[in-house]
Subunit: 617 residues, 2 copies
């Protein structure tokens, strides 16, 4: 059995960092361990039931002739099954679970039976629809589904050693490679995803054909072979892109694939485009939650600075795609700015996508709501539920990296990391109450010389480091605190990231946030929700400009730190006109104390108004 | 020659106040006198030329067979000619001008020749279109044009004693009365206007048929005879309306007509509906400039609190209609809240509609602009230019009213008012630098007992009154300061309305104004415009919360008081991301001094950004 990686770039030439096996990290924390436990006990078994209930697995049975009837659901529903397998695979890499593994094996058998002799596999294009295969790459998501199959197959192979699904994926990938490519048909996917999958298949099999195919699909863009729209990111060659546009998930999956490709082939024009797109996203089109995609129409990016709150789309999958892309950029360049976005997404715009009990989901993650937008147990288009599952079970794999220099810590959580650095075994025991507390202790079991790179989060302005109790002047490189040392057994590094609640202001061109502030504490973005604020409508809250923000641990919503402060209720009913002098308007305002909770925890209680960007008085 | 009134409600039973003749007030001020002079010397002659140039008068010549060719322009273009005549009429009531009178007479002759034997008059529905007369009341504005003809005719008759146009109007009104009514065809106008015209025609002729017809047209609404849409205010019977909706000008003209009707027939269900509509407008749908109509689409009111700034429609005609309606409500109820809105409209959202040189117009009056929205010399749909002309030449008629108790002063300007109160002649000499100064002096030449009612503007919180140098404790009734006295020659009343620049805040539900303030000084709403603020883009200005606002008279833009203050430029280019802590954001801001000018004067210089609602820091 090989190691399980989110991406296995250990042999990639053009990257600063190397990913580590998911199972090399044993989480011992409360925050993520609890969520992974919920994944194992609640979410993944329930998702299997839902895949059955909604005939997603039946579609494979039907394709193989086992059962009759019509294909059920959306034409891309196979992908949900694959993502669920991928989610289980990461879990199995560090947690034995015969029941889930047995379920996956039985599903893989259904998939195997559904595959055509020639390798084709997509249960929608069977029987009477067989003739339509590969005729509409723009809309019909065959390559997208294939990508998810490949990702699941590689993960399952790595986690269990079983080649059953990988053989199916290879057979399909070979089929695709026979059809498309420089010497075959032109084409690329209307919904990117296969690009990163093919690079990973190349990494797993060492068969360069898959890398070439990934490159081909990226290079095909901008030629108009799928219609030439910016919605499909087909309006320009990838290397000429300046602005992040189109369907948010597609755009970010494409960037992920292009980053994977860069790590293998090292083409600077690719990296330049990726840097431009990254800046454009982070400086002009990303929500404060890490969410991406301002518009419901087309699930798409809007104009620069178009970031409405109530109508924000910020699909859970787009937050995940943002995390995936930034993880790849982080591996490529080894700069903390990418880990900052990963962390932002993970604790906010991604985690908001699943209920605390692991049973319900948000597809869309608005930053303000009247209480009407509620979690659902499933969706007709169910991309988000298994996507968030595969993200959470893979979390240990996102936390650290290695380089020839040493160990990189990106995301903080109590955990035990075991790996070899230059053939010498190292154990790092990390202890922290992160994300609620910025004190982090690392105890090392090592007997070698290397650097420990500790990420200084972008949100953190003050921090201190001590080694074996002695304070040191930290050296910062690309915003990692670098500690170089001959490490001894029991060496202890303590990092204190000063974590206080603070008010954020939005870029002046974001119209919808003028006069508003958001509360952030460490990596967590807060919101005010009705249930904690019985004094009125949270939409009428004005935060006092000079208020002291107070933090308080509460045993609600799974345990979390709330932020309290002083403000005013500007009761709309008390206004007897539209316009008042500032003095007269102030006289109508009532002083109150508000309570803010982490945004990820919203919509888990009685429905009511919520908002992140709060007016300031 | 009779007296010229904006409305002659001297014999109306159901009204608290009576309008006074336009010519009973001689303006001696700088502000309005200058504008009336520009009207006489520039605007009215130029508008005549434009009416000729655009074939609006030719359409009459064509209808009478004098010239051949097609009807030119919009089907409602006759109305522009009528409004121009009305504008000249008010001017002629107090200023002899043979040239303009001669022009009007010649135009009236063209109109006369264009009228059919049966009284029908609308130059669009002639020749091949004759068969379509009265077939599409919803869209084709025949009754609207008739209304403007009647208003012009009544005004011209009153101002000059000449019955030429009135005879034409009566012939048309009789024609309409033969067709429509309880015993004739059902119908009402898609574009209200005729209602108030018919009431005025009744007041002028004492022929009750016209009043009945006005009532009929109002009572027809809500029956679906013009399609039943809320856009046409045909979705409900008028007396059941709760929310001001639809095309803004139509809605406000309709309310004007209904108020005129109420003054004659006194139906409380009418007044109740008018009060509900007024509250809805003023509390939920009116711009701080008095502008009405949030949406370009349909030139219509939006939802409650939907008051966007950059895309505000706020048509000049809608501001005028708002003034007209409030003048009628003021006459009806004698409460200053209506005069407050008149004043607001007049100095802001109406006056902005014409350039300082009297040669160019704004049709749409946005509250924020990038410098692209510019004045034009005319419009294909040219309703606004002659409408603002008839408003400005009639201004003396809006300033005062009388009641059996005495004299009411609504709008302040240096002027000499001469009239009889209970058969005793009274002269009021008013001296003030209003709207730049709140000191107002009244010297009375009178020898009788009556009350002087001086409006305490809604914008004014502090004021004082003295009589013959002695300070008095003012009595307020419906926000008029009431001074009852046996008046003697030379009695002097001094009113001091404390006038300071102040910041306004918007109702919390007006999304686009969150975190923003507007500057008001007395009746004037201010804006920041590029030319006075060379430090950067005025859209990036943040007014300092505690700034002292300083006023300064400047000899620019016709002479006006500017307001200066301290603020910050929040330079968007200096932000290297989307979200900063308040502290880091503040560090990027540059302190500057800004200069604000009255909104009415914007767009008279080099194009550049402008806004009324300014961010506060």
């Amino acid at each position: 059995m090989s190691s399980t990686f989110v991406i296995n770039n250990t042999k990639s030439k053009y990257c600063a960092l190397k990913s580590i096996p998911v199972e090399s990290v044993k989480l011992t924390d409360k925050f993520w361990s609890e969520r992974i436990k919920t994944m194992e006990e609640v979410t993944l078994p329930l998702q299997y039931e839902l895949l059955e209930e909604t005939h997603r697995i039946d579609n494979f049975r039907r394709a193989s002739g086992k059962i009759s009837g019509d294909f059920v659901g959306f034409f891309f529903n196979d992908s949900d099954v694959y993502k669920w397998i991928e989610a289980v695979a990461y879990l199995l890499s560090y947690k034995k679970n015969e029941k889930l593994e047995g379920l996956v094996d039985s599903v893989i058998e259904e998939i195997r039976l559904a595959q055509d002799e020639d390798g084709y596999l997509d249960t929608y294009f069977t029987f009477e629809k067989k003739q339509d295969r590969w005729t509409n790459l723009k809309d019909m998501h065959e390559l997208y589904c294939a990508g998810h199959l490949i990702q699941a197959a590689v993960a399952y192979r790595r986690a269990t050693g079983k080649a059953s699904l990988l053989n199916i994926a290879i057979k399909l990938a070979d089929h695709i490679a026979r059809i498309f490519g420089p010497h075959g048909r032109e084409g690329t996917s209307g919904h990117p995803e296969i690009e990163m999958a093919l690079v990973e298949l190349y990494r797993e099999t060492n068969d360069k054909k898959y890398l070439d195919l990934a490159r081909f699909f990226i290079d095909e863009r901008g030629k108009g072979v799928i219609g030439g729209s910016s919605y499909h990111i087909d309006h320009k060659p990838f290397r000429e892109l300046n602005e992040i546009v189109g369907h948010a998930v597609r755009s970010l999956y494409l960037n992920s694939g292009a980053t994977d490709l860069y790590m293998e082939i090292g083409d600077e024009t690719l990296l330049d485009a990726l840097e431009r797109l990254w800046s454009n996203l982070v400086e002009k089109k990303m929500y404060v939650t890490g969410g991406a995609g301002a518009r419901k129409e087309g699930e798409a990016f809007g104009e620069e600075y178009e970031l409405p709150n109530e109508t924000a789309y910020a699909e859970t999958c787009a937050g995940i795609a943002n995390l995936m892309w930034n993880f790849r950029m982080l591996q490529t360049l080894g700069e903390a700015r990418f880990a900052d976005i990963m962390e932002l997404c993970l604790y906010n715009g991604v985690l908001s996508g699943i209920s605390l009990d692991g049973k319900e989901y948000l597809y869309v993650n608005p930053l303000a709501d009247r209480g009407n937008h509620r979690r659902q147990r499933w969706f007709a288009c169910a991309c988000c539920p298994p996507n968030i599952a595969r993200t959470i079970t893979a979390i240990p794999g996102y936390m650290y990296s290695v380089s020839s220099d040493g160990i990189w810590v990106h995301l903080y959580a109590s955990s035990i990391l075991k790996l070899d650095i230059n053939s010498s075994s190292v154990t790092v025991k990390e202890e922290t109450d992160y994300p609620w507390d910025g004190n982090i202790e690392f105890v090392l079991e090592a007997n070698s010389h290397f650097k420990l790179f500790l990420r200084k989060p972008g949100w953190c302005e003050k921090f201190s480091v001590s080694i074996n109790g002695e304070k040191v002047n930290p050296i910062l490189e690309n915003s990692y605190i670098v500690i170089e040392k001959d490490w001894q057994e029991g060496d202890t590094v303590r990092l204190n990231l000063v974590m206080n609640p603070e008010l954020l202001e939005s870029h002046p061109k974001v119209k919808d946030n003028v006069g508003r502030v958001a509360i952030r504490r460490g990596p967590i973005i807060y919101c005010v929700e009705a249930e904690d604020n019985p004094w009125g409508d949270v939409w009428d809250l004005e935060i006092s400009e000079g208020t002291g923000l107070v933090e308080e641990y509460r045993d609600i919503l799974g345990g979390l730190v709330v932020v309290k402060g002083e403000g005013y209720v500007n009761d709309p009913e008390s206004w007897n006109g539209l316009y008042l002098t500032r003095g007269n308007a102030r006289a109508l305002k009532r002083e109150i104390e508000f309570v803010a909770i982490p945004y990820y925890a919203w919509a888990n209680r009685t429905p009511g108004p919520m908002e992140i960007w709060i007016k300031r008085s």
